[in-house]
């Protein structure tokens, strides 16, 4: 039977042996957290993005269910949405994704001005995206209350543009901290996380664009 005394005390009492382990980082201080992955924070962002995707899966489920149970989609008397602003926004979304990825690659090579330029461009494009959307939203409030089509259409756009807003705020934080010189190739979790999240937002937009505009 085991002694009731503290096993941890036994461990503390005996000498360290980690330094003699052939596979340990000899002579280097171990990190406070025994890490298995390079970046715990990014893994967290990845799982968060999974949950965010499921939110949109829920909304799309409603879209397809309501579409399948409706006689006409969009219903009679409702014009299909104008394609031009959505096409423009698709271009803007793709450009901003390129910019944010450029910013991330730049700081990975310690190119701070590249980071600032990339993130400022991506943020500005995000603001333009929201401006184009908001023009469409003035027409949407009546549409939302008129039919199931209008409600799901509005919700998908609304909850996507909310994510765009969050992304733009994140990019604003990155920009300010980049100007303050907080980032380097070794310290860029926020930049990477923002870039990942922005790619996700763009991905959602592509699905929204395809389903709401092209396939209706």
């Amino acid at each position: 039977m085991m002694d009731k005394s503290n096993l941890a005390m036994h461990m503390a009492g005996s000498q360290r042996w980690s330094d003699s382990r052939p596979d340990s980082r000899v002579g280097q201080p171990q990190p406070a957290k025994p890490t298995r992955v390079k970046n715990i924070g990014l893994l967290g962002v990845a799982f968060f993005i999974v949950s965010e995707s499921m939110f949109f899966v829920g909304l799309f489920l409603a879209w397809f269910y309501l579409r399948a149970t409706s006689d006409a989609w969009p219903p009679a008397g409702v014009a299909p949405p104008p394609l031009l602003p959505a096409v423009i926004n698709t271009g803007i979304a793709l450009l901003s994704t390129v910019a944010v990825l450029f910013a991330d690659r730049a700081i990975a090579r310690d190119n701070r001005s590249g980071l600032i330029a990339g993130i400022a461009t991506a943020g500005a494009l995000g603001v333009i995206f929201m401006a184009v959307q908001s023009a469409e939203f003035t027409a949407l409030s009546a549409l939302a209350q008129g039919s199931a089509y209008g409600s799901t259409f509005t919700f998908l756009l609304l909850f996507h543009v909310l994510r765009v807003f969050v992304g733009v705020v994140l990019m604003g934080v990155v920009l300010v901290r980049a100007l303050l010189g907080h980032f380097s190739s070794r310290r860029r979790l926020l930049v990477q996380g923002t870039a990942m999240y922005w790619c996700f937002i763009t991905g959602v937009w592509l699905v929204v664009f395809a389903v709401l505009y092209l396939l209706s």
């Binding site: 005394s5 941890a8 360290r16 052939p22 992955v37 893994l43 949950s51 499921m54 409600s151």
Partner: protein
């Protein structure tokens, strides 16, 4: 490589470990602020447990009101409107504010980092945020309830009961708001657990050396991550329908709500049972003095249950007018899920078989789990059959079934876990005699309450009725159930007395049960940093290895 090194040093020491500097935290904070401002997973876990247990007591009192009302025909303890509010709150609180926060928030938080040899979860501040938003959600729901803003559309909030027409008051909106907040809290908690489990394990803890409870929590967190956002979307849509005149859940499309609700709420059943299964998978081997029989089979079954749990939700809608072909598919998947569950059942029995059973309260609770859960499981398979379901749907048979699963399963599992780990949490042992009395009163009270409900259901008594007329043959069953409910409440009272007596309990020491997992290697209660040195794991039972190596004791 690690194994060879471990063997080389095994002659000198109890357990291999590596020194990692203890992260510095503001350890000076004690008293109330030490709890309110904590990011320590153990304190957060204990707060989850306390909050969840308080909600359990409150929802239990609501259940007693339900049983009083139904004790005899035409009773008027409360009026029908209030009765609807009471059973709505009973269901909601038991599921969302007791079982899930207790198992995932309480046990998960407290045990997961300790079991995998970590000093905390991956994101301690996010963890604290999850707790406070969960508590806030509970207070929002209960605040509304106490101040007259009550929802009465049952925990399922089916359309059209929950629509503006039939639930015109703000109570429904408060209820929805509370659930949305809870969903955010538990989704973020799931992210935290998954990252912790993936990246914070002690050296040497390969996938097959993760304790069974860790696997159960990982599967549960995965289900929360995938299922909860869909419910959140549905809840927001319902809020919009009620307040902004959107047209999602119009009366000719009531099924949309049912699909979205059950897409979450059927996996939620497994979110409530898998951690409890994880608990008994830890407790049974310790008290049978044998390793868990077929660890890999149990792990694979757990993951299969998690995956299959997403393919069965339509079996709640067999009388909703779904296409019969789709219904048959879901009938099949529902029955298939009994296979991995059966595998686990037989593995637990095989663990007990030939073991040298130490019949202390934790094991008794596990035996209670096995005996009652199997009844709930089998009645579930019966209901999975479309013709049977169409007969018993919305009757007391269903009430009996899910209480056998969620009380007989989850709650017995929770008490097994509490009797097993509270000595670790507090450093004091429970009174064994009171524990046994608690078990037997609970076991008898539970079966007396819920077994007659099977007959009531078959005799045609519908769920959620505020009262009934005499002469339908329901009187005896209902009276017996009410008597059982009070015995059940008495058993919980015994547990509360046992908790109060903990103060003078025998000291637990580090490892009162001769456990297998890493939490028993540290002090009771563990220090804030859990382990002075991070242990190196060499098998799925690291503490067993350590005991085998210590010849003196």
């Amino acid at each position: 490589m690690k194994l060879a090194i471990a063997e080389a040093i095994a002659t000198e020491r109890d357990m291999a470990s590596i020194s990692i500097p203890i992260p510095l935290r503001d350890r000076a904070r004690t008293g109330l602020l030490g709890w309110l401002a904590t990011v320590d997973h153990k304190k957060i876990g204990v707060m989850y447990m306390m909050v969840a247990f308080s909600f359990f007591v409150i929802a239990g009192v609501l259940a007693l009101l339900i049983r009083l009302q139904l004790a005899a025909p035409n009773m008027q303890v409360v009026d029908p409107q209030t009765y609807n509010q009471i059973f709505t709150m009973h269901g909601t609180v038991m599921i969302f504010l007791f079982t899930i926060p207790m198992l995932v928030g309480g046990f998960g938080n407290y045990l997961l980092p300790l079991m995998i040899g970590a000093r905390d979860v991956a994101f301690p501040r996010l963890n604290a945020f999850s707790f406070w938003i969960t508590l806030g959600a509970g207070l929002v729901m209960f605040g509304g309830f106490l101040f007259g803003a009550r929802s009465d559309a049952a925990w399922t909030a089916y359309i059209p009961y929950s629509s503006k027409t039939f639930s015109p008051t703000i109570g429904m909106d408060i209820w929805l708001l509370g659930l949305i907040l809870l969903g955010i809290g538990s989704t973020l908690g799931a992210v935290n657990f998954l990252v912790t489990l993936y990246s914070m394990r002690a050296p040497g803890m390969t996938a097959w050396r993760i304790p069974m409870f860790g696997w159960a929590m990982g599967t549960t967190a995965g289900m929360v991550l995938l299922a909860t956002p869909v419910l959140t979307a549905a809840l927001i849509m319902l809020v919009a329908d009620r307040n902004f005149n959107t047209q999602f859940f119009t009366t000719n499309r009531v099924q949309l709500w049912q699909h979205m609700f059950w897409f979450y709420s059927h996996p939620a059943v497994y979110i409530m049972i898998l951690p409890a299964m994880g608990i008994i998978s830890e407790v049974i081997p310790v008290f049978a003095r044998k390793p868990l029989f077929g660890l890999r089979a149990v792990v694979i079954s757990t993951i299969l249950i998690g995956l299959l749990g997403f393919t069965t939700w339509v079996h709640h809608m067999f009388v909703s007018g779904v296409d019969p072909t789709i219904e048959r598919f879901f009938m099949f998947t529902t029955m298939v899920i009994a296979v991995p569950t059966g595998v686990k059942m037989f593995n637990w029995l095989a663990t007990l078989w030939g073991g040298s059973l130490n019949l202390k309260t934790p094991l008794l609770m596990c035996l209670g789990f096995l005996a009652t859960f199997v009844i709930g499981g089998i009645s579930g398979v019966m209901q999975g059959s479309i013709p049977v379901d169409q007969y018993v749907h919305n009757s007391y048979w269903v009430v009996a079934h899910f209480h056998y699963v969620l009380f007989g399963g989850s709650v017995f599992g929770i008490f097994a876990g509490l009797y097993f780990w509270v000595p670790k949490i507090t450093g004091r042992m429970f009174d064994e005699k009171l524990g046994k009395l608690h078990f037997w009163t609970m076991m008898i009270g539970f079966n007396v309450t819920f077994f007659p409900m099977h007959f009531l259901g078959l005799l045609g008594m519908p769920r959620r009725i505020a009262t009934y007329d005499a002469g339908r043959g329901w009187e005896a069953g209902n009276l017996i159930a009410t008597i059982g409910a009070f015995l059940l409440a008495f058993s919980v009272l015994i547990f509360i007395i046992n908790c109060i007596k903990l103060r003078n309990g025998e000291r637990a020491g580090n490892d009162p049960w001769e456990g297998n997992t890493l939490e028993w290697s540290t002090t009771s209660p563990p220090p804030e940093y859990n382990f002075r040195e991070i242990p190196v794991v060499e098998s799925d039972r690291p503490l067993f290895d350590a005991r085998m190596r210590t010849p003196s004791a």
